[in-house]
Every structure is written in C-alpha cells, then in structure tokens.
Amino acid sequence: MTTSDANPPAWVKSARQLERERQRRRTGRRSASVAAVSTVVFLALVIGLLVSSPGWPRVRQTFFSVGQLGDAFPDVLRGFWLNVEIFLIAEPLILGLGLLVALARSLTGPVFFPIRALAVGYTDVFRGVPTILLVYLIGFGVPALNLRGVPSDPAVLGGAALVLSYGAYVAEVFRAGIDSIHPSQRAAARSLGLSHVQSLRFVVLPQAVRRVVPPLLNDFSSLQKDTALVAVLGPLEALRQAQIHSADTFNYTPFLAAALLFIALTVPLARFTDHLAARAERRRAPGGGT
C-alpha cells in the first residue's frame, strides 16, 4: 500500500452493532440448543428403541460382552501389530506405485501409448480382481512356482498383493487430483522454464495431493482393514485372532475389540487431515481474488 495511514478514524462499536451481536448470540444460542436437543433426542430414541427391544439382552451378550472383550483384547492387540506393520510397509509402496501409474496415465502424445495402455490395463484389472483372489494368487501361487530368491513369508506375499491391488485404487485418486488442476497452472510453470517433471513436482502435484487427501484417507483406512486379508495365508492378525476367539466362545464381541483398534488408528488420521484441509482453506479466504 502506498497510502499513508493519516488520521485513521477509531472504531468504537456502535450501539446497533452491540445490539446486533447480542441478538445474534441469542438466536445462535437458541438454534444451537434446538440442534443439540434434537440430535440428542434422535440418538436417545435410536438407543432406546434398541435397548428396549425384546432381543436386546441376547444381542448385548453376543456383541457387546465386556468380559469377552477383556478376554480377547490381548490376543487381538498382539495380532493388530501385524496389521500395523503390514500397513506401514505397504502404504508407502502403494503411494509410490499409485503416483507412478497416475503419471503414466497422464502422459500425452501417441508415443506414450503403450505405457499408457499398460497403466490403464493395470488399473482396470487390479481394481476389478477381488483382493482376496490376488492374495491367494500371490500367497499360494508364488511359493508354488518354486522360484529361487523369491520370499515366501506369507506376510510379505500378502503385503505384495495388497500393494498391487491398492496401487490401482490410489493411482485413480491421484489421477483425479492431477486432472483437477487447471492447465493454466502448468502453463505458468512451464513459462517460468520449469521442465515437465519440475512443473509436476513443484506446481501440479502439491496442489493435486492436497485436493485428494480425503479420498486417499479412504483408501488408507480400507487398506488398514484389508491387511486382514493376509490372514488367509496363515498369519494371526487382529481379525483372525478375533475370529478364533469368536469361534471358541461362540460370541462376536472379539470382533468389537478389533474394530476399536482399527478406529483408534483411523480417527487420529482423519483429524490430522481435517487439520491440513482447514489450513489450506484459510489460505484461500474468499475476500481477495474474487
């Protein structure tokens, strides 16, 4: 600004504004109470209906038994570390693979047709094939091939199947993000002399990734739960431990223990991405550029 701040009038809130704010607070409080009360009533109704139903004691006993939860928890937790481990190793690989495939798909020009076709074929097939089949195919098929030097640890093979399957999903998410960046952004980057790769890296991808964080998180939490699929290859992860306890006792509560653990992982992640989104939002306040 070049204007000098000579004699700026001081702001003393007018009586009107004070009255307005009072009124806003009042109606705000009123609507907030209405909303809160109706929400609470709604929840109470649902819960009441549930609890008062004739079968509730049996259902509570079968799905929400505190004793069973306590009994199963240590085993389920032990299994859960395997899920976390597979997740932590698979996720970076998935992100890398997904990004590569997304970039391959967004290559233009007839020259890249075969690579594009490969990428398209990959996403099509691997999103279509049930993950469980992939786990079987890799978990039982690869050891059966009798190849030397190929790992045979079921957790590793199961993890590889997950990477292949989720790579296809994540690739599509990234592609959506990349496509949603207006071409003028890339034009601006290229005009500054940035190469194709640099434009992607510094201009397109940072914006694209931010836009797709919620769907990515979707795939994260799906993956977290699908780490349970490696159980078909034998390892004792959380859901399998729950299943064993459930079969032993004919009670489904152990699954609840697994669910609580999975939720305990998803919620902080969700809050973290909300925080990121809110920060990005603050940067583009509506006042300026419009």
Binding site: T3, P8, T27, G287, T290
Partner: protein, 264 residues
C-alpha cells in the same frame, strides 16, 4: 448508531425520495485488520456512483458487503429503505434485486455461456426457459457474443468472459448493479460499447455502483464519484468536482498520479 440514522427505523419503508441504497458507518475487518472504516454513502435511485481509489483501498470489499457476501462488522446497509444487514433479514431476497459482476468474472465453468446466463432467471426468478433464452440471446447479441452462446467459459478470451459475466448479471433485471472493474479486461472498442450499454441502463433507470480504475470512464458515466483511501471514504462529490477541484490533498495526489499514467 451514527448521527445520520436520525429516528429512521430500518424496517419501515421510507419516503420514495430517499436513497435506494444507503450505507451507514460500515466497518469491515479481516483478522482484526480494518479494511473498511466507517463508510457512509447514499445512492439515489437512477444514480451512478463510481468508487475510485488505490489498489487494496477496499472497493471490492465494499461491493461485497453491499451484496451481503461479507457480514459487516458494524453499521448498516439499507436497500429501498429496508435494512438488509438486519440479523433477521433474508439475504437471498435482497440479493435477488442486486446484480454483481466480479473482477475475476467467476463464470461457472461447467455450464455453457447460455446456461450461465439463464440459470438465475429460470431458477430464482422463475422465468420460463424459452423467454430466458430469448432474452439471453438478445443480450449476447448486443455484447457481440452471439456466436459464443454454446461455448464453455474456459474457451473464451478474457474480454469475452467478462462480457458474459456482465450479461449474466443483467439477465436477472436487478434494480441495483454492482460492477467491480468490469472494463479492466475489455478492449477499448468494447469499453465504448459497454459504456453505451451502461448509459442506456442508466437511462432506463438502473442504479449502479462501480469500482473502477478507469478515470475517463468514471468521469464520463458517474453522477457521483467516491474516493476511498485505505478503507476511509475520504471524499464524495459530483464527478466534475472531484476530477477538477478535489477538496482533499490525498485525492489530488491520487489523481495527479493517475494523470501521469495517461488513463484520464
């Protein structure tokens, strides 16, 4: 309340000779940084007001406040005697009567030019589609865009996009138009044309508030010119007076620099 609001209750309709738009002591802050500082302004029906001032002085913000896209932090805005900043007022009803054109066009990229223009008439004003289309085509014709009706906004040049934005706002037949630097992206030939259209609109009784950097344009079209300086409405007066004998030294200084830039 400011001294100006002498006994007038916002909810009661006022006498017809009163201002169509009355802005009273409007304050607006962003992150406790004041951007508008107690702006007072009356716009009579059929009047054309130009807001001039440096970049960042608050012109766009003032227009956004009038259109209720921002909540004012103090003060009041009356449209036709009704306080539209009232807590209980229906913002949509007020906006129906106000047309706005944005500095950055803000066209809807997923709709053709024609759909952009007919959206509000059809959905808000319940004009039959055929009538809305006919009117839109007529307006497009007048703005030299007849052949672009089926195009999508991203395919148009900057000037073409801004013209579509003007047509879109006009199509709702508002009783007050807010125009934020509408000519800045237009080529000079079209400025003449738009000027003609705005004059035509004015003659047809349209009330307008324009933010502009085009002093020649302002001098030509405005009944009243307002000079905004750092959020303060420093000087208001007839166009001729402001441009020839400004009272405030800041205004003189500003116009001096503008003169040097060759835009007046």
């Amino acid at each position: 309340m400011t001294a100006r609001s002498d006994g007038i209750d916002g909810a009661t309709p006022r006498s017809p000779d009163a201002a169509l738009l009355r802005i009273e002591n409007v304050w607006k802050t962003y992150h406790s940084q004041p951007v508008l500082r107690g702006v007072d302004l009356d716009v009579a029906a059929h009047e054309v007001v130009c807001l001039i001032g440096a970049s960042g002085s608050g012109k766009s913000t003032l227009l956004r406040c009038v259109n209720l896209l921002e909540t004012v932090d103090d003060g009041a805005i009356y449209l036709d005697g009704t306080e539209i900043t009232d807590v209980r007022a229906d913002a949509d009803r007020a906006r129906k009567r106000i047309g706005m054109v944005f500095q950055s066009y803000n066209l809807f990229p997923h709709m053709s030019v024609l759909d952009n223009i007919t959206l509000a008439p059809v959905r808000v004003h319940k004009t039959p589609r055929a009538a809305a289309v006919a009117q839109a085509r007529e307006l497009l014709e007048r703005f030299g865009l007849a052949d672009k009706a089926k195009e999508y906004p991203d395919r148009l040049s900057g000037g073409q996009q801004q013209r579509v934005a003007i047509v879109r706002a006009l199509a709702t037949r508002p009783s007050l138009m807010l125009l934020d630097e509408v000519t800045s992206a237009l080529d000079p030939e079209l400025v003449t044309e738009v000027l003609g259209i705005i004059r035509e609109l004015k003659e047809s009784g349209m009330t307008m508030v324009l933010a502009t950097h085009e002093m020649g344009f302002a001098r030509d079209i405005a009944d009243t010119v307002c000079f905004l300086d750092n959020g303060v409405l420093l000087e208001t007066g007839p166009a001729e007076q402001i441009f020839t004998e400004p009272r405030e030294p800041r205004t003189r200084e500003f116009l001096q620099r503008v003169l040097e830039s060759g835009r007046i």
